[in-house]
Symmetry: C2
Subunit: 172 residues, 2 copies
């Protein structure tokens, strides 16, 4: 799988969505409770991973998370296993951006659900609020389909990149 330019986290100020720079603590506490309730242990590696995850403001890959906790010196295998566990417990959810890379995202305590906009130039990923797909789901429901869920991602060029390429064109 090809490596793309750069995940660029600068300027991740979500123009397409209301801000949610959530406080790390609730997420971590929630996770701890969930682990405990499931009879699982709260270990140093897991805490380090949870802490690191709160520092991401966009979906991250296993590899990225691994690099983010490198100081704590865990094995990559542990990251894989922890993410699998967290995912099963609903602490994180898988985000599929269609480039073949598996990414995750810390789920917000209220269980709300959102989609993303991915800039195909700078690779920035922004959360979007709401999804007006209910109509489509309702239609399927009327046809007898049940337990519906969906997965949606938008792609395109973000306003920043559009502006930059204009500037480039002028000075070229």
């Amino acid at each position: 799988m090809k490596k793309n330019p750069k995940p660029s986290s600068k300027r991740n100020e979500n123009r397409a969505c209301a801000e949610h720079h959530h406080d790390p603590k609730p997420s971590i506490e929630r996770a701890a409770r969930i682990l405990k309730d499931a009879g699982l242990k709260s270990t140093k590696p897991r805490s380090a991973l949870l802490e690191a995850m709160t520092r991401f403001h966009a979906p991250f890959s296993t590899e990225e998370l691994f690099r983010a906790v490198k100081a704590s010196d865990l094995d990559l295998v542990t990251v894989y296993r922890s993410l699998a566990t967290f995912s099963d417990l609903g602490i994180v959810s898988r985000v599929d951006l269609g480039d073949g890379v598996v990414r995750y995202e810390l789920r917000s305590p209220d269980g709300s659900h959102h989609h993303h906009f991915v800039c195909q130039e700078c690779q920035k990923v922004e959360p979007l609020d709401s999804c007006e797909i209910k109509a489509q789901e309702n239609r399927l429901r009327e046809l007898g389909y049940s337990q519906l869920s969906h997965r949606l991602e938008f792609f395109g060029i973000c306003p920043d990149c559009r502006e930059h390429s204009r500037a480039d064109a002028r000075t070229r």
Copy 2:
């Protein structure tokens, strides 16, 4: 990556979408023209692959396509390379169902675009007509986002499976 039950092609009669049991020929002819226009060659392996693709009525994986042409005795590598070429030329498009398996689908000559419903019980995949996401896209466009596209898949339990599980419950 775990293997799921069975791709089940039986009963793929698209209740959620108008039928389109397209005639194979136009697709193959279109592909031949596109290849030629791109200065590429029309070879026996490519023809075999194109022919095999028309027999699928749901997105297929590289592996599945490989098995479907096994008689023609091509190398799996050729299937990978051909699909990459076809995808670049717009002869097929990648379909992402979120289970980590890369799938493709022969694009219809009119370039129309659709999404899918995936039954999480029998794994059946059905095309859906239309997508009412234009509103969301328009909103992004007003915010300065451009060259928008999206990717959407629905998941759930199809009417058949729902019916079967009811029957199961009664006789159990």
